[in-house]
């Protein structure tokens, strides 16, 4: 490229060998801050002072009630985030945490309604079956990917839509009466117990256990070791005797299982009956969560905390200032975009230099 003053602009992009700590830790921060800034633009567009809106957003969750609601929202987000995180470490994109959530919700409802077991056993049976069905569902994209290299992004994404529809059908099957858009209500026995007089339910315990399990899986177990190395270089992993089937199907199964638990929690802990669209985009928010937190299970926890705060805070802002709740979706989308941009910065460095050049460049000797 040539500038009017005869200078030659040289742009070179090269691979960054060793990203500095500033870049490594700065990128998640940069991602979050800039997505909030973008959200501010949208908030101003509806005529509300973004500073006021954000202050409301983040202070409204400081109350006892607000904080408990954040935890309630964190339950599905953390589980779904981990459901994306585990396959992501193996280099696989599980876009279908939503599918697992619906599968888990449907299963938990069915077990809760039609199986009779004493006390806590029923809750455990609901969780286990929801997890297994969610996991089983994800064997489909896993096998397709391992056997024929069919893109897991597409299959998991499409499964989400399939499960949304199937959820509607399941509601009909388990419906109480004509014209009611929900299944029969779960018995008090089937509902998850709640704690501290808030809506925080058994799912919170499950989510914490899942978090610890995923952390141990990745950092202590041989399967985790294989997942991480497969994710770094599938070819080298395969040559070392690590089975592609085991990793691909295994991680997606775990993803399905975790999202299945999230679904069970939403139904048995919150809704008490199967309803349409009980997962308002949790599966997609989970992608943003896993991206921000992809360096470790506990980072996933913090990312899900951030999004839970945004969710609950935005609901309050909507209530007070009638800023549409869609603001959450904007922030979510911008997080993903900025994250991808940040990834580019982390992996490549850009070098722009301006070099003075004489008029007749063809005569210039370039040694």
């Amino acid at each position: 490229m040539k500038l009017p003053n005869g200078h030659q602009v040289e742009v070179s992009i090269s691979r960054r060998r060793d990203p500095s700590p500033l870049i490594r830790y700065g990128i998640p921060v940069f991602t979050i801050v800039s997505s909030l800034l973008f959200g501010a633009v949208a908030i101003s567009a509806v005529g509300v002072n973004p500073v006021v809106a954000y202050v409301t957003m983040f202070t409204s969750v400081l109350s006892w009630y607000g904080a408990s609601e954040v935890v309630v929202r964190m339950i599905p987000l953390l589980l779904a985030g981990l459901a994306v995180y585990v396959p992501l470490r193996a280099g696989l994109w599980n876009i279908g945490a939503g599918a697992g959530i619906y599968a888990g919700g449907i299963t938990a409802t069915a077990v809760g309604l039609y199986v009779s077991l004493p006390g806590p056993l029923l809750n455990i049976a609901m969780l286990v079956s929801a997890g297994l069905v969610g996991g089983a569902l994800m064997i489909i994209p896993g096998y397709l990917r391992a056997r024929w290299d069919i893109n897991e992004i597409l299959v998991t994404l499409l499964l989400t839509f399939t499960m949304v529809q199937f959820n509607g059908y399941a509601i009909l099957l388990m419906g109480s009466s004509e014209g009611v858009q929900s299944s029969e209500t779960l018995s008090a026995l089937a509902e998850f117990p709640r704690f501290f007089g808030t809506r925080i339910h058994l799912g919170a315990v499950v989510a914490v256990l899942a978090l610890i399990a995923v952390y141990l899986l990745m950092n202590r177990t041989r399967f985790g070791f294989e997942i991480l190395n497969f994710g770094s270089n599938p070819e080298a992993a395969r040559q070392s005797g690590i089975s592609k089937y085991k990793i691909v199907i295994g991680t997606l199964f775990i993803g399905g299982l975790l999202s299945g638990l999230a679904g069970a929690g939403e139904i048995a802990g919150i809704q008490s009956r199967l309803v349409p669209n009980f997962s308002p985009g949790f599966g997609f928010t989970a992608i943003a969560i896993a991206l921000i937190g992809r360096n470790g299970a506990f980072q996933v926890l913090f990312a899900s905390l951030f999004f839970a705060v945004v969710y609950i805070g935005a609901a309050n802002v909507e209530l007070v200032y009638s800023v549409p709740f869609a603001i959450v979706e904007i922030i979510e989308a911008v997080v993903i975009l900025f994250f991808i941009a940040g990834e580019g910065i982390r992996r490549f460095e850009l070098d722009v230099r301006s070099i003075p050049q004489s008029e007749d460049s063809s005569e210039v000797v370039n040694a």
Partner: protein, 546 residues
């Protein structure tokens, strides 16, 4: 044949240094208008670097390039194209979704005066390409049609590139260069992707083009191509020009010698003629295909015994990689049997081979040998993670093991938590060797274990392999470096076009003879010799008789 041809391009004293190596060491030669000039050399001889300099992709540290009496400043391929230099890369740079015509127009030179419908300023990114696409198509179409007619290209410009086969795509690349008024055309290993019939077609076309005045640089390591299709040849070795010769004045054997070097044979330590008894790996009538589905290993028999190094000599691309991958279970064979120890492991998964104590040093250590984002520790136990616990990994024990490898195999790293991608080539290779040898394998497949690493590491790895042999490991050493093969092996086989064409004891091995087998000018494979008239005539021409 070549009289009074004027020099069109002159390369003078080009030097290009990379950290640790001099890729081009005062390289000079000139091109005569209308000739096909071969550039011959082994992998790593500096051919590609030189051509990248000529095409403006690298800047030379020293030296000058003159074209038709004018000194060129080549800062980018754009400058090279402007100067009339075209290049057909080994991997084509075409956009599959676009048509032939569109692909050609994309590379169009900037038109001098902006057209009425395309007033894009120069600073707009891709302005040249955008302007090119906005220009009147019919005009371009006419020019392309004319070129196709003139040289008999047999291509439909309106066809999408993804519909074309490899040979046709290559012709599109050539056409693209011609459309940009290339006077010098660089072809980088053009036949590597072609079938023999397609290759013949290509050379027929090149003949036609040079008759019209085009000058061609043919980069290759295939001696037949040099002998049959070039006018003159420049031989590069270790970054230096060995000589530029008139084709026909030097025999095939002579060229091979120039290419590989006359170095005195390394004296193998005298191993009292050993008798190898128990085979660790046996291959029977093995056949396998490469990624494109073309047969790369064509009926191969091979046995490696305990405590023996079998060297596989040959120019890469003759089935080495496929053979190695079959032997460790990474690639499925299409026919034949692989027995490791006393177990038939034909087409078993890699895990079975690992469990049968087979180790593998892959050719591409970055792509196949390590997990770059993971630590040295993890890479060190990649193959034996199960011996550190079936379910939970004992990371303390693993760290000890990794530190042992690092120390024993002289891997220079600050600590074992360093990411593998931060290791230099030599250190990474030592780490891989350590991982593969520390498990004391029965059978080791080492594919190009010393390629592209520093001299110190080369020596070290060779020593380690020899030591491992003493431990009783049977080693299959695949290498393009004939000296290495001769220095290390107890037995040598020559791989050519997926078959073993020669087998000899290291004691009686002679470099010159092996050199001839490597390039296919000699062949012990009976079926092949009877049917292949072409090869006989090639032997005649080179003046060497078996």
């Amino acid at each position: 044949m070549i009289e009074n041809r004027r020099n069109i391009l002159k390369i003078e004293g080009i030097v290009k240094r990379f950290p640790g190596v001099v890729a081009n060491d005062h390289v000079s030669f000139s091109l005569q208008e209308g000739e096909i000039h071969g550039l011959l050399g082994e992998n790593g001889a500096g051919k590609s670097t030189l051509m990248k300099i000529l095409y403006g992709l690298y800047a030379a540290d020293e030296g000058e390039i003159w074209m038709k009496g004018q000194r060129l400043a080549l800062n980018s391929p754009k400058d090279a194209i402007q100067a009339g230099i075209g290049m057909v890369h080994q991997h084509f740079k075409l956009i599959p979704r676009l048509t032939v015509l569109e692909n050609i127009m994309l590379g169009e030179r900037k038109t001098e005066e902006p057209r009425s419908n395309s007033r894009l300023p120069d600073w707009v990114p891709f302005s040249g390409s955008m302007r090119a696409l906005m220009t009147n198509r019919t005009e371009s179409r006419e020019r392309v049609d004319e070129l196709i007619d003139r040289y008999g290209f047999d291509i439909d410009p309106s066809e999408a590139v993804w519909e074309l086969d490899v040979g046709e795509r290559q012709r599109v690349e050539i056409l693209k260069a011609l459309y940009r008024d290339a006077e010098v055309l660089i072809l980088d290993e053009p036949t590597a992707v072609l079938s023999p019939a397609e290759s013949r077609e290509l050379f027929g076309m090149l003949q036609k083009l040079t008759d019209e005045g085009l000058t061609v640089i043919l980069i290759t390591h295939k001696l037949e191509e040099i002998l049959e299709h070039t006018d003159r040849t420049t031989v590069l070795r270790n970054g230096k020009v060995i000589d530029t010769v008139q084709t026909g004045t030097v025999s095939k054997a002579g060229l091979a010698e120039m290419m590989v070097g006359r170095d005195v044979l390394f004296e193998t330590e005298n191993r009292t003629s050993m008798v190898f008894e128990s085979p660790v790996a046996e291959v029977q009538d093995l056949r396998a295909q490469d990624e494109r589905g073309i047969e790369a290993v064509s009926g191969l028999d091979l046995t490696v015994h305990e405590g023996e190094i079998v060297g596989v000599a040959g120019v890469s691309g003759n089935g080495q990689r496929e053979l190695a991958e079959c032997l460790v279970g990474v690639r499925k064979s299409t026919a034949g049997r692989i027995t490791i120890g006393d177990r038939d492991l034909t087409n078993r998964p890699p895990r079975s081979f690992v469990d049968a104590d087979v180790s593998y040093i892959p050719e591409d250590r970055h792509k196949h040998g390590c997990t770059p984002d993971r630590s040295v520790l993890e890479n060190a136990i990649l193959k034996d993670s199960d011996s550190f616990g079936r379910i939970l990994i004992d990371y303390d024990k693993a760290r000890e093991h990794a530190e042992q490898i690092v120390e024993e195999f002289d891997v220079r790293v600050p600590n074992v938590d360093t990411q593998a991608k931060n290791l230099s080539g030599g250190n990474l290779q030592k780490l891989i060797c350590g991982r593969e040898l520390k498990r004391d394998p029965n059978f080791l497949v080492a594919n190009q274990p010393t390629r592209g690493i520093d001299v110190g590491a080369i020596e070290y790895i060779r020593e380690v392999l020899l030591e491992q042999r003493e431990e009783g490991t049977g080693i299959l050493l695949i290498s393009e470096d004939l000296d290495e093969i001769l220095q290390m092996s107890d037995r040598i086989v020559v791989l050519y076009e997926g078959k073993i064409v020669h087998e000899t004891d290291a004691e009686t091995a002679d470099k010159e003879t092996i050199g001839q087998y490597i390039t296919g000018s000699k062949n012990d494979d009976i079926e092949n010799r009877d049917s292949d008239a072409e090869r006989e005539s090639a032997t005649d021409r080179s003046g060497v008789e078996a």
